[in-house]
Symmetry: C2
DNA sequence: CCGGTTAGTTAGATCTGTGAATATAGTGGG
DNA sequence: CCCACTATATTCACAGATCTAACTAACCGG
């Protein structure tokens, strides 16, 4: 076990915007458009402070006034609406999975400017080569978008599996074993010449699900399913990472004593029983025709989902069986985290979420705790890119973090 | 479902000490004794700020200098040690369970000055009467300790079951159904005339496990077993409460599909399968002689634990079976929260912890995530009083909370 | 006794946020 | 059309916290 002494003694959650400047930028960004009065309510600051901070943001070209708000029925000066200047800055988000590399270019307002999807590194890829490729493709992405590279603040990189905060992964599924121990972050920073943030895919997805999921949701979680299953917790816009950056590993909780062996070494893991790979294996065993898809990965899972949605009863039974197990994971998240909202996201839910959603909803509402507080479960409409977008947004947020 | 609009818009975790005053008091309290230099390192403040804050604390009689620290081998002025003035303030902690009322009087340094244990309210008790009794007994506790009542800052009250933050419980085990919806906090404040903090027993226990569990543990959880099973998460000395104050309800995660029905309405709950009540029921069914103990509760569980520890193989088998299930809960906590340390606490672990500990340890270390980061599992030596002490400590901490 | 070393303080500057008063921009009534 | 009325936003003077820089305090070893 390499003992890691992280330079910044991380407190278990990501750097909350200590500066009121960052706090205000975050609020405007997640609301889309906001007045100064609302900012005083949201931040707890007094009006003069808000005025001062906002003026500097406008002077710096990060925020712009954008017309008047709806005047109240009674009268009074209408609120001046503020908005992030989208073109002020940019960040890149990259999601590495077993068979895909997803790139997004996100503007300062949090909008996706460009989105690339490249066939992934493939089995047993060499991390050094992948890093080189990411650096090149990131440059191409920025160039092809016509964005001034000087305005790009940095890159957020997400990968599956448990990781050492801002270093690399500590273990990985069979096809990515060469990534274990590889110093992803520092190698990327060297190649790119810009700050890089490394994050777990599920945690990033929690940051990436559209912040505007109703204003009064301050505690929410993402259940993320790609090749693996993970979850992330978001508190007031800050993700919870745990002591070592591995919080939310719901895919490797044991839901069946004596269950099947998992690549992680355990038995009865949720992922081994009901993850996409397990679904594909069962479908193959049942003799389903998955077409020309590769022997594993999300593509094969998507094929099964399409069969199920088009009425194939065997495919549907297999997926509903998976959903029954995953519902246990969802219930565990609700019980352990006590969230107001659970968002289903990631590539697997993007293709099969409509089958999973009602089953998970029903399970959560059947537990007292879910029912008594009305925990909501919803599907993320951008599940395919949630992790990459989340990585980018986390990088955006870190801009104003205290750098003591 | 009564929609509760909490006065303070709580962010999902308890008020972090925003004032550096509170931050410094907390640090000194948890360290026991500390110098100004160490405070600069721990808080991130510079020396002059620490000097200023500490001077005011000394002037206010909350902190005292207490001799010199060990001089470094090389030379230089030895550090002046600071210490909380224990007699400066006091707080009361009360733990209500099905069959006991536990009182602790805690001084400003966090030390337990007095401890009372009273036979509990009994089945189906009237909340109003219990509140009256608690008010009277709290007065007696303070009086008999010779503490000036004016120095008592407030009372922390913990009870089992999910609660609405600072209001009352939303559901309860069969013997406490009359507590559901009862406005515990406001009624207690009216009777006592001092601030009352209401908290879940497991969450409070997380706050109560001695803070000095090694200085570099910033993310830890408590697994609490009394009549029920719960858990609490502590981040840098602040407990995580979740959106509604119900985080960590590990007792009602489903660990066996189609398992036995639980009082909460679910099936296969950890608590229903392996909680103390289930252990007692199994022992009774197996014909074990539990002596003159009441038909349920921790007392009967303790009798079984004593049998097991004294070599009764049937009792041991029953408890080891329970431990195997509870180990799943412990693993879930480790995976979801990613903690550095898991403390077993509460009355049930106080009597049977030595049987549970190795089984839980082994399970956690058998999961990659536990093994790769070396999650520690330990037994709290003050399990009986952890919840009450935790309630008191949380009240102590809230003293310096921002009251905007 | 004196340089070396670490701990802690004082003094002054800066920055942040506050409160009170004021300016701005609309609504609706006479 | 002018005038209260209302809500939004800004200005200005001040209080507080925290920083930098320079200084004093206490102890070591020779």
């Amino acid at each position: 076990m390499q003992q890691v002494s992280d330079s910044s003694q991380s407190p278990g959650y990501d750097p909350a915007p200590t500066s009121s400047r960052g706090l205000i930028v975050d609020r405007i960004r997640s609301a889309g458009t906001l007045s100064r009065v609302e900012l005083t309510q949201l931040t707890g600051l007094k009006a003069p402070s808000v005025t001062a901070v906002v003026r500097r943001l406008i002077d710096d070209g990060l925020v712009a006034e954008t017309g008047r708000g709806a005047s109240t029925s009674i009268g009074g000066k209408p609120r001046t609406l503020l908005q992030i200047r989208a073109a002020a800055r940019y960040v890149v988000g990259v999601h590495l999975s077993e068979d895909h590399l997803t790139y997004v270019l996100v503007d300062y307002a949090g909008g996706v400017v460009a989105r690339w999807r490249r066939d992934g590194p493939g089995d047993d890829s060499d991390p050094e080569q992948v890093v080189a490729r990411v650096a090149i493709e990131t440059g191409e992405l920025i160039a092809s978008s016509g964005v001034d590279p000087a305005l790009v603040l940095g890159l957020g990189f997400v990968c599956p599996g448990p990781l050492i905060r801002n270093r690399g992964v500590t273990s990985a599924p069979p096809s990515m074993t060469r990534w274990v121990g590889f110093p992803i972050r520092s190698r990327l920073e060297e190649r790119l010449g810009m700050p890089v943030l490394l994050e777990n895919d599920a945690t990033a997805a929690a940051a990436g699900t559209r912040l505007t999921t109703s204003h009064d949701v301050s505690v929410m979680a993402a259940l993320f399913m790609s090749e693996g299953i993970g979850s992330g917790l978001r508190l007031n816009g800050n993700v919870y990472q745990g002591a070592h950056g591995n919080a939310g590993e719901v895919g490797h909780i044991c839901v069946q004593i004596g269950g099947p062996r998992c690549w992680c070494g355990g038995t009865g893991c949720l992922e081994a029983l009901a993850g996409p790979a397990a679904v594909v294996a069962k479908a193959r065993a049942a003799g389903l025709d998955l077409g020309s898809h590769r022997h594993s990965g999300v593509a094969a899972f998507a094929a099964i989902a399409r069969l199920a949605l088009s009425g194939d009863s065997r495919a549907e039974a297999i997926i509903r069986d998976s959903a029954a197990w995953i519902a246990l994971g969802a219930q565990t998240i609700a019980n352990m985290y006590d969230v107001q909202l659970l968002v289903l996201t990631g590539p697997a839910f993007a293709v099969a979420g409509t089958i999973y959603l009602p089953i998970l909803q029903e399970r959560i509402l059947s537990s007292v705790f879910g029912r008594s507080v009305g925990t909501k479960v919803v599907l993320d409409e951008r599940g395919h890119d949630a992790a990459a977008i989340g990585a980018a947004l986390m990088m955006l947020k870190s801009e104003h973090a205290i750098s003591a």
